[in-house]
């Protein structure tokens, strides 16, 4: 395993903030971010049916493994040099249910969390840049 493709919700400020943070972290694996409505997803993963998976976060490895929910979060942490230890810890049966609950909570509340913390999402930023460029 060398690369993880991270399908995230570019409409969500919190998710976009996480993407920017993840990009700055030293990683054992290469992380590639794809907004979940990006046409590149069909091109790269022909058999992938979006509607079958949750919309907030799906991780696909270069070996074709698909992860979602808490498992996807654990895999993202596994890719990072500083947090791999935490990924191993969270993947243990004792902590995984807790991780799952936290992920579900954050995923459900991600839009509220974004507006509460005033986090700009990638989709809005991209639209803004496009608009300024046109002017």
């Amino acid at each position: 395993m060398k690369t993880l493709y991270i399908l995230y919700d570019a409409q969500c400020g919190f998710c976009s903030h996480c993407r920017r943070w993840l990009e700055q972290q030293p990683g054992f694996l290469d992380l590639r971010f794809l907004p979940r409505d990006s046409p590149e997803i069909e091109c790269r993963f022909p058999g992938f049916v979006r509607s079958q998976y949750p919309e907030e976060l799906v991780v696909i490895s270069d070996e074709g493994g698909i992860y979602w929910g808490a498992h996807a979060w654990v895999m993202v942490l596994y890719a990072l040099v500083e947090y791999r230890e935490w990924a191993v810890r969270l993947a243990r049966p004792a902590l995984l249910p807790l991780a799952r609950k936290v992920c579900e909570l954050i995923s459900k509340k991600r839009r509220d969390l974004s507006s509460l913390l005033g986090m700009e999402n990638d989709a809005t930023l991209a639209a803004e840049i496009r608009r300024n460029h046109e002017c």
Binding site: S61, D62, I66
Partner: protein, 134 residues
């Protein structure tokens, strides 16, 4: 004239440098296996790092021993010679102990990092996909 203090200095240097060499050799001999494991069996790299660590160990310890030589007061008779010598060697032993544990900490950190690097994914995939390689 060789005063008791000078005798004490000579004994101090012999004991301290001897102890430093003994601890450094122990580290060098027993730390190697840790390092070979940390560097995924790359013995050349492990030997190189091992040697560099021992050089650093010698520099710090002998540096401390020479710097601390004159501290501790004058020794007029045999009793004072032993007291001063004992406290000076005691400090050297403490410094050696701290340095030794620092080295162990470095070894174990390197090993942990190497083990994490080779750690397989902690969770199996929840589904599989045919992937078009770029």
């Amino acid at each position: 004239m060789v005063t008791p203090t000078v005798w004490m200095y000579i004994a101090y240097l012999i004991i301290s440098v001897g102890l430093t060499i003994w601890v450094a050799r122990t580290l060098h001999a027993n730390g190697r296996i840790f390092l070979v494991d940390s560097f995924l069996g790359n013995e050349k790299l492990a030997d190189s790092v091992n040697h560099l660590l021992v050089v650093g160990f010698y520099l710090i310890n002998i540096g401390y021993v020479t710097l601390a030589l004159k501290y501790g007061g004058k020794s007029e008779d045999l009793q004072q010679v032993f007291e001063t010598l004992s406290s000076k060697v005691g400090f050297v032993l403490l410094v050696l102990g701290v340095m030794h544990f620092m080295n162990l900490l470095i070894f174990s950190k390197m090993r942990k990092r190497a083990m994490l690097r080779n750690q397989p994914p902690p969770l199996p995939p929840q589904a599989h996909l045919a992937v078009k390689t770029a």
